[in-house]
């Protein structure tokens, strides 16, 4: 579904991604871990189309289409979703109006008619219950005055509503207490299916106890330096990243 080949990117003239290779197939759950500043969030930003990043080399194919050529909105319409690490507060735009606009723009792109209000509300109720999102927050301004946990849960609610093919969760676990973490994880698990893929970016193994990945990748210094299964996450939790860093430096010096 997503093929990343030799992806290099920079921001403000500084090289951040230095040759990422990754293949993601339908139904898979990938976790990307790594120390601070390794390029995890940069990878998600480049994939979603954040404008201050410049791709200097490599390519990304999304179901055979050149992802990097597309505007951010077209990437979303093609089925890519980024759950933000820091969801933005937009006073004056109601959560529901925002979702309706997004959903209908995506439908228009696929030559589908806009949803009737009734259908939209039905869908909203269904998804809100599925991911256990507080109904009172839906009519409020987008993320305005939401707690950290409510914002993250709103990201998962949007994910449920927009129903993308590939969802990237950028440190969705950061700032969540254990109860909120469980709710968010259970929401994500309910959305897993054979035709969808997920990329979970996280610092900690804790989230992966609830969302069990098929693959774990370690990003360090702009490259994927190790790929394994869920056991790799446990190993990292136990031993930290230093042993991996040393391994990388040894390889480089050879």
């Amino acid at each position: 579904m997503l093929t990343i080949k030799n992806l290099h990117a920079e921001v403000d003239g500084k090289q951040i991604l230095k040759g990422i290779n990754l293949e993601i197939k339908r139904g898979e759950m990938h976790a990307i871990m790594g120390p601070n500043g390794s390029g995890k969030s940069s990878l998600s930003s480049v994939l979603a189309g954040r404008e201050n990043y410049t791709v200097t080399q490599g390519e990304v194919l999304f179901d055979g289409k050149d992802l990097l050529e597309m505007s951010p909105e077209d990437r979303a319409r093609e089925g890519l979703f980024l759950a933000f690490q820091y969801p933005v507060e937009i006073p004056g735009v109601s959560n529901l109006h925002f979702l309706k606009t997004a959903l209908n723009e995506i439908r228009t792109y696929h030559n589908l008619p806009a949803l009737e209000s009734k259908e939209f509300l039905k869908l909203t109720k269904e998804k809100q219950q599925l991911v256990d999102f507080n109904a009172n927050l839906m009519n409020r301004s987008l993320n305005e005055g939401f707690s950290g946990g409510e914002k993250k849960r709103n990201e998962v609610f949007q994910l449920a509503m927009l129903d993308p093919k590939l969802a990237i969760l950028d440190e969705t676990d950061s700032g969540l207490d254990i109860d909120a973490l469980r709710i968010v994880a259970s929401g994500v698990n309910k959305l897993r299916s054979a035709d969808k893929a997920f990329v979970v970016i996280t610092h900690y193994q804790r989230l992966l106890e609830y969302i069990v990945p098929d693959f774990v990748h370690v990003l360090y210094n702009g490259q994927i330096v190790k790929t394994g299964t869920k056991e790799l996450a446990l190993e990292l939790e136990e031993k930290g990243y230093d042993w991996l860093k040393e391994e990388v430096h040894q390889k480089e010096s050879v």
């Binding site: 954040r50 505007s71 909105e73 979703f81 925002f98 997004a102």
Partner: protein, 438 residues
């Protein structure tokens, strides 16, 4: 006159009121007084403090006809284009300031009078209030209007009376050649009367330039309440200068909304409220959205003359393309006006590198037990907010209009008429889309 600029013509050559209007008119003495006041005041230049950012000479350099006799006609079909969808109202149609009874739905309510101001000249209430507002006395264009206005509306609501739905006043302007049009209105609400007014405008002729110099006087007697919406959206070849001057007696409530939208070349609004009785409430809301080469200037003045009055002012501006905005908000709290609450805020969103805003709050406070504040901001779009919306599949155009509507929300949310709220949201969407696709 055709060779001369109109600015020079009205500065030096314009004949006085007795030459032009019916000399029997009961308000002729007031017109004559105003004319001599106009002569004394003279026209503003860029050196005049209140006109520093609006070069009015530039907008008066063309040749205009002083439209006094010109009737102008308008059809029902043309009027229907000025409608606000789903708005249930009494429609009042004016052409160049003259009431068109055949196109209007004047409420058959014995408690509310709606007539031509010329027909009401004998009304003692009109005579008592006409051109009396203190802030009009120093305004040359208001004086010119009083001296030479063609016609306008007189609206009087009896004590304790109200209407079951708003009045929608549609001002249409049409002229075969460049015209200087001067409407004059007076709205008088007696004790405990209430009214909702929506004013909107329709320009019909794109080839000739119309310069509209309007004066509206509003008088709210004790405990009266007026919701006053002014929607300024007309054609490019029009220039609008207005004075809205309100007097509030004790316990009265005045809610004024000013929406300036494309595409008039120049708009200058002078809104002033004199609080002459205590325990009044004054809410002034303004939204200006300017595109192209538009120049939009809002001057407001809240005059706290007595104690225990509350005023609250919020003006927001969205400036696109090469648009130029001016906001000057003055609050004067007199020595006797203790326990005054007066707040003022002006926020601006610049959506282009070439757009510009000049904003100056002016607070003059001579009482010591008051709560007053003012603030001014100017900002650009949050790139992060725009990216967030786009990352959800919302196109750039729709995302920007969502953000502009969000910015305007503090104002539009205060509008008490849902049809008008929807209309404004849709207009904002259209104009933002138009500016982006330009």
């Amino acid at each position: 006159m055709s060779e001369k600029s109109f600015y020079e013509f009205i500065s030096n050559g314009v004949p006085g009121p007795e030459q032009k209007v019916n000399a029997d008119n009961a308000i002729m003495p007031a017109r004559k007084l105003a004319f001599s006041r106009f002569r004394e005041l003279g026209l503003p230049t860029l050196k005049t403090e209140e006109w520093r950012y609006t070069n009015i000479q530039r907008y008066l350099k063309d040749a205009f006809t002083l439209a006094q006799e010109e009737e102008g006609t308008v059809t029902a079909a043309q009027i229907s284009t000025a409608g606000i969808p789903h708005l249930d109202s009494y429609r009042i149609v004016l052409v160049n300031g003259r009431l068109q009874t055949d196109l209007s739905q004047i409420p058959a309510n014995g408690k509310v009078t709606i007539s031509k101001i010329s027909d009401a000249a004998g009304n003692t209430q009109l005579q008592a209030w006409f051109d009396k507002h203190p802030h009009l006395q120093s305004q040359p264009f208001a004086a010119l209007n009083a001296a030479l206005f063609a016609d306008g509306l007189f609206i009087e609501v009896s004590a304790n009376a109200s209407l079951d739905k708003p009045l929608h006043i549609i001002h249409t302007y049409t002229a075969s050649a460049n015209a200087f049009i001067q409407p004059r209105h007076l709205v008088l609400l007696h004790k405990s009367a209430t009214l909702e007014i929506i004013e909107s405008s329709l320009g019909l002729n794109d080839t000739a330039i119309t310069f509209v110099n309007t004066v509206t006087e509003v008088v709210l007697e004790e405990n009266a309440e007026l919701w006053h919406y002014n929607l300024q959206s007309t054609i490019k070849n029009s220039r609008h200068l207005s004075h809205t001057s309100t007097t509030q007696k004790a316990d009265s409530r005045y809610h004024h909304f000013n929406f300036t939208l494309p595409a008039a070349e120049m708009t200058r609004n002078n809104l002033s409220v004199a609080l002459t009785g205590s325990n009044t409430e004054t809410n002034l809301h303004g939204l200006y959205l300017a595109t192209g080469q538009q120049h939009v200037d809002n001057h407001t003045f809240v005059d706290h003359l007595v104690a225990n009055c509350n005023s609250n002012e919020l003006y927001k501006g969205v400036l696109l393309d090469n648009a130029n905005g001016v906001f000057t908000g003055k609050i004067h709290v007199h020595q006797d006006a203790q326990k005054t609450n007066a707040f003022q805020q002006n926020n601006n969103l610049l959506m282009s590198e070439k757009a510009n805003i000049n904003s100056q709050p002016q607070l003059e406070i001579y009482a010591d037990d008051v709560k007053c504040s003012h603030g001014f901001t100017v900002g650009r779009f949050s790139d992060e907010a725009l990216f967030y919306l786009r990352s959800r599949g919302i196109g750039e155009e729709a995302a920007k209009s969502l953000l502009v509507n969000a910015f305007a929300f503090d104002i539009t949310d205060q509008v008490h008429i849902p049809a008008l709220q929807d209309f404004l949201a849709e207009k904002i969407r259209q104009y933002v889309a138009g500016a982006i696709n330009n």
